[in-house]
Amino acid sequence: MSNYWPIALFFVIVIGFALTSLGLSRLLAPNRPNRVKNETYESGIAPVGEAQQRFDIRYYTIAMLFVLFDIEAVFLYPWAVVYDVIGIYGFVEMLLFIVLLLAAYAYAWRKGALDLG
């Protein structure tokens, strides 16, 4: 783990920079709020209703697919690193895994989960 502390240090410095500059802009910039200025922008008309409402279910399907395939990618990474060592055995293993995943992928495609529009 000794290689990781520079990242932590970098993180602290970056966060520090972000918060200081935001604070600095609060200090330097004028702040004269009024009711009309603080309304949300809706093409110049008075905003109608709340914006935080239900939205299309299809965004959830995309998110689910993402979880599925991103985990696959994470699984493929260590496999790719040691591929030279495991050879044909690793190849067959991964082929089986991907074929199983492709079956689910084909199902999702047929069901129209990949269509937005």
């Binding site: 935001l22 949300t40 922008y41 990474y77 190849f91």
Partner: protein
Amino acid sequence: MAEFLITLLKIFIVFGAVLGAMAYMTYFERKVLARMQARIGPNRVGPWGLLQPVADGVKLLTKESPIPANADKWVYLLAPVLVFVPALLVWAVIPFGPGFTAFGERISQSIANINVALLYVLAMTSVGVYGIVMAGWASNNKYALLGGLRSSAQVVSYEVTLGISLIGAIMLAGSMNLGDIVEAQRGTWFGFLPRWFVLPQLLGFALYLISAVAETNRAPFDLPEAESELVAGFHVEYGGFGFAMFFLGEYISMLAVSALASAVFLGGYLGPTIPFVPAALTGVFWFAAKMAIFIFFYYWLRATLPRFRYDQLISLCWKVMLPLALLNILVTAIVKLLV
């Protein structure tokens, strides 16, 4: 203690260089776009308009940024920080050169030399999505919500192909450490072709390039911002330095994916030696030159191509790019078994 100070110095150099490069990327973008549209571009502030980024920065710092009355205040304020911080943290693992020896100590030219560098980069780019979702939701603005949803779906979709397109190169190098990946590309094929992974991984490179443009929400995949329909998408309610943070995050991400493309596919800091210049500096020079090519490519795309339709964008990712990326891995695996 010496190690701590050296790391601190490296952090400040990288931090300054990335922010400086980002500032002049905006200038470069405006100049390139202007020339492509037969205009001149910024030329009023300083010689050849060179001080334009400074003027922009000062202006953004001193602008009033009202918080919308029915926004979730703290989420709204946190979102830009969450876009900016991970974009910059990616730079911790990028190797800028082969390293050098000074005062009897071996100094590597990256902030942190970790063996899961590529995985770390992907993890950091994922965190950026939270900032986008939070900004879109917390603004309580209909345009922002639509932009935030579109953007998050787009970014997570293309993150899958971005990650999978890199796997072929990892298989060739046998490592996730970016320094090792660059070193694996040293030397030449047939005596004249550089051993860059772009040649054996041409498909992977093409997929990476498309994913990278989509991942950073740039034209022709800039739907979340789509100024003509969504009036800027998820950051419509932001002004002043909150807006600047989003802007910084976007440009630093562009630079980061360009750095990654150079390191993984174009041999990173490798290049012909320049006489009388130490290897550590030529490395930085070649690396920067390769990144500049990608940045120029970004601007060229923006000047040339019209915007995609949203359903086309998502279908392209899931129906074309994902199968091709898996095919790329399969072909690489078979070729590696045979050779």
